[in-house]
C-alpha cells in the first residue's frame, strides 16, 4: 500500500519533524526502543501539523518517561506513576491543547495502575502511550507487571512467581474508547497509529512494545517480531468481546487497532452540565453569598 513519496516530500517531512526536536540529546542506551517511539511521535505530529506550542507531553518517571525532554513542545516529566492525573487536570482545564500522556510499563501498570481505569471511565480527550519493555529500565532491571512468569530479574532471582498483566485486556475492561498496539520496530506503522490516537475524540491508548536492550537483551526485538501479527482486517473494531479475545491470544501479539468505539468525551459531558449550571445561575458570587443571609 505504501508508495514511496517524491524526494522533496520526504525532505519537507523530515524538516517538519525536526521542528519537534528539542536541543537535549537523549541519554537512552544505544538500541533502546524508545528512540523509535520518539521518531514515530515526531512523524505523527508533523503529519498532523500541530504547532509545538499547542502540545503538552506529560510523562511519569522511567527511561521512557524521559521522552518529553526531547521534544520541543511543552513537557512535564512528572512523578512516578502520575502522568494520567496530571494530564487529566491539564486537558480538562485546557481542552484546546493536544495532550499526550506517556509512561513505561512500571509507571503505567504498577505504581500508576490505579489511575488508568478512571481516565478511561471519564474518556478524557488525550492520547496515552505506554512504552512496554517488560522491565524496570531506569532502576536497573527489576520485574515489571508485564514481565513473563518465571523470568529471572534483579528482584526475582529464582524466577518470577507472578502472572503478567495484559495491558490491552485491561484497557478494554476499563472502557477505553480507542485501544491499539504498536511496536517500536515499525516506526511507520507506529506513527500511523499515533496519528489516529492523537486525533481520536476521547481517551486513546496505544500499548507500544518497546524493547529494553540493556535489561532484556537485543533478543527482545526478535521475540516481538516473531510473535507480532497485524490484526486481521476483518476484525470488527467495535466488538469488545472479540477484541478481548485478541488481547488474550496466547501466541500472537496483534498490532493495530483493537477497539474503537465513539462515546461522549468528558469535555462533551462537562460542557453540557456547565450549560445546565449556568442556566441555574450557579457560580455567581453574590447569589452564593445571598444563600447565607440568615
Amino acid at each position: 500500500m505504501d508508495v514511496t513519496p517524491p524526494a522533496e516530500v520526504v525532505e519537507r517531512r523530515i524538516n517538519a519533524r525536526q521542528a519537534y526536536r528539542s536541543d537535549l540529546k537523549p541519554v537512552w542506551c544505544p538500541g533502546c526502543g524508545d528512540y523509535s517511539v520518539l521518531t514515530a511521535l515526531f512523524a505523527a505530529l508533523a503529519e498532523l501539523q500541530i504547532p509545538p506550542h499547542q502540545i503538552a507531553l506529560i510523562s511519569g518517571i522511567g527511561c521512557s518517561s524521559r521522552l518529553p525532554g526531547y521534544a520541543a513542545t511543552y513537557g512535564l516529566n512528572t512523578i512516578h506513576g502520575r502522568p494520567i492525573p496530571v494530564a487529566t487536570g491539564l486537558k480538562s482545564a485546557r481542552p484546546d491543547l493536544t495532550v499526550i500522556a506517556m509512561a513505561g510499563d512500571g509507571d503505567a501498570l504498577s505504581i500508576g495502575g490505579g489511575h488508568f481505569p478512571h481516565a478511561a471511565r471519564r474518556n478524557i480527550g488525550m492520547a496515552y502511550f505506554v512504552m512496554d519493555n517488560n522491565v524496570y529500565g531506569l532502576t536497573k532491571g527489576q520485574t515489571s507487571p508485564t514481565t513473563p512468569t518465571g523470568e529471572q530479574t534483579a528482584t526475582s532471582l529464582y524466577g518470577w512467581p507472578e502472572d503478567p498483566a495484559n495491558p490491552l485486556g485491561l484497557a478494554l475492561a476499563y472502557g477505553v474508547s480507542f485501544v491499539a498496539q504498536g511496536v517500536a520496530g515499525d516506526v511507520k506503522g507506529l506513527a500511523r497509529l499515533m496519528v489516529e490516537a492523537i486525533q481520536w475524540p476521547g481517551f486513546a491508548f496505544i500499548e507500544i512494545l518497546s524493547p529494553c536492550v540493556t535489561w532484556r537483551g537485543k533478543e527482545q526485538y526478535d521475540v516481538i517480531r516473531d510473535r507480532a501479527r497485524p490484526i486481521p482486517p476483518e476484525h470488527d473494531v467495535t466488538d469488545l468481546a472479540a477484541a478481548f479475545r485478541y488481547a488474550h491470544d496466547p501466541e500472537h501479539l496483534y498490532v493495530g487497532v483493537h477497539y474503537r468505539q465513539r462515546k461522549p468525551t468528558f469535555q462533551e459531558r462537562v460542557t453540557a452540565l456547565q450549560q445546565k449550571a449556568a442556566a441555574k445561575g450557579a457560580g455567581n458570587f453574590d447569589r452564593y453569598l445571598a444563600k447565607f443571609r440568615a
Partner: protein
C-alpha cells in the same frame, strides 16, 4: 424595624444545648434558632456534634448567643434540652452545665434520665419534664417536636415572636402553606410552654441591639466563598470529613462559571490534577483533611520543585491515622510545614475563625499565583463546621482580604530562548503556559537548570534551592503574617494560631480583667514564619505562653525550630477532639503565674 431583645440577667453569653437521637431534628431546631438570633441583630455560634452512625445516631447542638461577636468555644451551658437520654452517653463528658443550669426532657423519656446529673458546681440537677411529643401529637404533626422545642427556647430567651415564623416560612414554605402553618402553630405552642416555666435564674440580660442584616455560615462555606472570589477555575478533590462541604460547593458553583470540579480517584490524583490544570495556567484548588494531606506529600514536593501554584485547604481533624474524623485538632501543622522529602518550602497560612476562612483562601490564591508555589490553608473541623453569624458586609472591600491577581506571564518571542527558571534578581521567574508560542519548555522534578533541563550540578542544586527560599523572604517582606491583640501595657503574651485564637483572646480578656493585662499574638503565616517580628514581640513581655490543640506541642516546636528559644514559655496544649476552652487556658495561666 425589628424589636430589641432582652434575655435574663448576668453573663453576656447564654449557651443552649439541644440533644436528640436520629430523626429528632435537633440540628434543624438549632439552625432555626440561630437564624432567629441573627435576625435579632445578635451574634451566635453554633456547633454540631454527631455520633458514629450515618443516620439514626445521636446528635447535639451548642448555640452560643451574645450581643458581642463571639470568639471562643462554648463553655458552660445554661439551658439544655435532652430529647433522648438513651443516646445521651457520648455527650455526658462533653456537656458542662453552668451552676443553676436548667435541664429539660420530654416527659415521655423521663424514666431514662441519668440518676446523677450535676452542674459544674457539683450541685445535683433535676431535669424538668416538658410534654413535647404529646403536644406535637395533639397538633397531628408528630414530627414537629423540634419546632415546639424552637418555640420553647425562643420563649425562654424572650426572642421576638415574629422572627421565627418568618424563618419557618422561608425554610418550609415550599412544602406548602399547610405544612408551614402547622409548624408555626407548633412554634407558638412551644412559646406557651416557656411562659409556663419559671424564668431561669442566671440567664444573662442582652442589651437591646439595633438589628442589622447578618450572615450565618460555616468556615467551609466562607472558604468556598473565598475561592470563588479569588477566581478559582479548577477543583479536583476526594471526599473526606470534615472537608467535603468545600468540594460540594465547588461542584455546585464551578461549572456555572465555565470551570470544573473533578472527583478524583484519590488524593494523589487530586493534587496531580491540580498541577496539570495549573501548568495549563488555571487557578486550582483542592480540599482535604489529614489522611488526604498525607497522601499528597510527594506531589507537594514536586509542585515546589517545578514552581507550580496550587491551593490546598486542609480542614484538620483529630489524629493520628483515621483518628477522630468528626472532631477537631491542630495537629496537621507539622505535616503541612515539613511534609516533603528534601528541602521543599511551601506556604502555610491559617484562618482563626469562620470569617478569616474567606481571607485565608483568597490570600492563598494570591500567594500561590504571585510566588508560583503550593499554598496550604490550615483550617480545622471546628472552624470548618461551626456556624457563625457575621455582618452582611463581612466579605466586602475594607473588611476582608480581597486582592486577586493573575499569573505573571513571560514576554516570550518565537525563536528566542525562554528560561522558565531564570536565576535573576527576582526569584519568581515568569511562567509560560501551553499555547504561548515561544514559551515551550520541558521540566521535571529532577534538579534542573534555568531552561528546565535535568542536571546533576550540585551548584545548580544550591542555586535553585536558594531561588525557592528567596520567595519565602519576599513573602515575609510583604505581609506581617500575624496579628496582635490586647492592651498596650500587657506584660503577658499568649502566642497562638488557628481556631485556638478565639479561646485565647477570651482568656486574655478575662485575665486582663483580673488585673493581669495580657495580649494575644495570632500567627496567620505559619510558613514562612515571621520569626524576626515574633522574636521582637516575645522579648517585650515578662510572661509568654503558647496555646494550641495538639498533644505534642507542635506549634511550640515549630516556633523553636525557627529559632525562637521560648525557654521559659508556658506550653498550653493537649490531645485533641474538643477545642481548648477559655477556662482551660486561663486556668493554666493562673497556675503558672500566680
Amino acid at each position: 424595624m425589628k424589636q430589641a431583645v432582652t434575655i435574663g440577667q448576668g453573663a453576656s453569653c447564654p449557651c443552649v444545648f439541644l440533644m436528640g437521637s436520629g430523626g429528632d431534628g435537633v440540628v434543624t431546631a438549632g439552625d432555626l434558632l440561630a437564624r432567629a438570633v441573627a435576625n435579632a441583630g445578635l451574634h451566635c455560634q453554633m456547633v454540631k456534634s454527631f455520633g458514629p452512625q450515618i443516620r439514626g445516631g445521636e446528635s447535639g447542638v451548642w448555640l452560643q448567643i451574645s450581643p458581642q461577636p463571639i470568639q471562643g468555644p462554648a463553655e458552660q451551658v445554661q439551658i439544655a434540652v435532652v430529647l433522648s437520654w438513651r443516646s445521651f452517653g457520648p455527650f455526658a463528658r462533653q456537656l458542662s452545665l453552668a451552676p443553676g443550669a436548667l435541664v429539660f426532657q420530654d416527659e415521655q423519656d423521663a424514666a431514662l434520665a441519668p440518676p446523677d446529673l450535676r452542674d459544674a458546681g457539683g450541685q445535683p440537677v433535676t431535669p424538668r419534664s416538658l410534654p413535647l411529643q404529646k403536644l406535637a401529637d395533639e397538633l397531628e404533626a408528630p414530627r414537629s417536636r423540634n419546632i415546639l422545642l424552637v418555640g420553647f427556647i425562643a420563649g425562654l430567651l424572650q426572642l421576638p415572636a415574629a422572627l421565627i415564623p418568618e424563618v419557618l416560612q422561608r425554610k418550609f414554605g415550599k412544602r406548602g402553606a399547610e405544612v408551614a402553618a402547622t409548624l408555626i402553630k407548633a412554634f407558638h405552642r412551644g412559646r406557651e410552654l416557656a411562659d409556663a416555666q419559671a424564668r431561669p435564674a442566671g440567664l444573662p440580660a442582652l442589651a437591646p441591639v439595633e438589628a442589622e442584616a447578618r450572615l450565618l455560615l460555616s468556615g467551609n462555606d466562607a472558604a468556598s466563598l473565598g475561592a470563588l472570589h479569588a477566581g478559582v477555575e479548577f477543583f479536583a478533590g476526594y471526599p473526606i470529613t470534615p472537608a467535603s462541604e468545600i468540594m460540594t460547593a465547588m461542584a455546585e458553583h464551578l461549572p456555572g462559571r465555565g470551570g470544573m470540579m473533578i472527583q478524583a480517584e484519590d488524593e494523589i490524583s487530586a493534587i496531580c490534577m491540580l498541577l496539570g490544570a495549573s501548568f495549563g495556567g488555571k487557578k486550582a484548588l483542592t480540599s482535604t483533611s489529614g489522611p488526604g494531606l498525607s497522601l499528597m506529600v510527594e506531589a507537594l514536593g514536586f509542585a515546589t520543585q517545578i514552581e507550580l501554584p496550587c491551593v490546598i485547604i486542609d480542614v484538620q481533624r483529630g489524629g493520628p491515622s483515621t483518628g477522630m474524623p468528626t472532631k477537631t485538632e491542630q495537629s496537621d501543622l507539622q505535616l503541612a510545614v515539613y511534609g516533603a522529602h528534601g528541602d521543599a518550602p511551601r506556604v502555610v497560612i491559617a484562618p482563626e475563625n469562620v470569617r478569616t476562612c474567606f481571607d485565608a483562601t483568597v490570600k492563598a490564591f494570591y500567594l500561590a499565583e504571585k510566588y508560583q508555589t503550593p499554598v496550604i490553608v490550615l483550617s480545622d473541623q471546628q472552624l470548618g463546621h461551626r456556624e457563625e453569624t457575621l455582618p452582611a458586609t463581612a466579605f466586602d472591600e475594607g473588611h476582608a482580604f480581597r486582592t486577586v491577581i493573575a499569573r505573571r506571564l513571560p514576554d516570550v518571542k518565537p525563536g528566542e530562548p525562554y528560561k522558565r527558571f531564570a536565576l535573576g534578581d527576582d526569584p519568581v521567574s515568569p511562567m509560560a503556559i501551553p499555547g504561548m508560542e515561544g514559551g515551550t519548555y520541558r521540566t521535571s522534578g529532577i534538579i534542573h537548570d534555568e531552561a528546565g533541563n535535568p542536571t546533576v550540578s550540585t551548584d545548580l542544586h544550591r542555586r535553585m534551592s536558594e531561588k525557592l527560599q528567596r520567595k519565602m523572604t519576599l513573602i515575609l517582606a510583604e505581609m506581617p503574617g500575624y496579628r496582635l491583640e490586647g492592651p498596650a501595657h500587657a506584660d503577658t503574651l499568649l502566642l497562638t494560631w488557628g481556631s485556638t485564637a478565639g479561646a485565647a483572646c477570651d482568656a486574655a480578656a478575662r485575665r486582663t480583667a483580673e488585673g493581669r493585662p495580657t495580649a494575644v499574638l495570632i500567627v496567620e503565616l505559619l510558613y514562612p514564619l515571621p520569626t524576626e517580628a515574633l522574636r521582637e514581640h516575645v522579648a517585650r513581655y515578662r510572661h509568654v505562653a503558647v496555646a494550641e490543640l495538639t498533644f505534642s506541642g507542635q506549634f511550640l516546636r515549630w516556633l523553636r525550630a525557627n529559632g525562637l528559644a521560648l525557654e521559659q514559655a508556658l506550653a498550653i496544649h493537649r490531645g485533641g477532639g474538643d477545642p481548648l476552652t477559655t477556662s482551660e487556658i486561663l486556668q493554666r495561666m493562673r497556675e503558672a503565674w500566680t
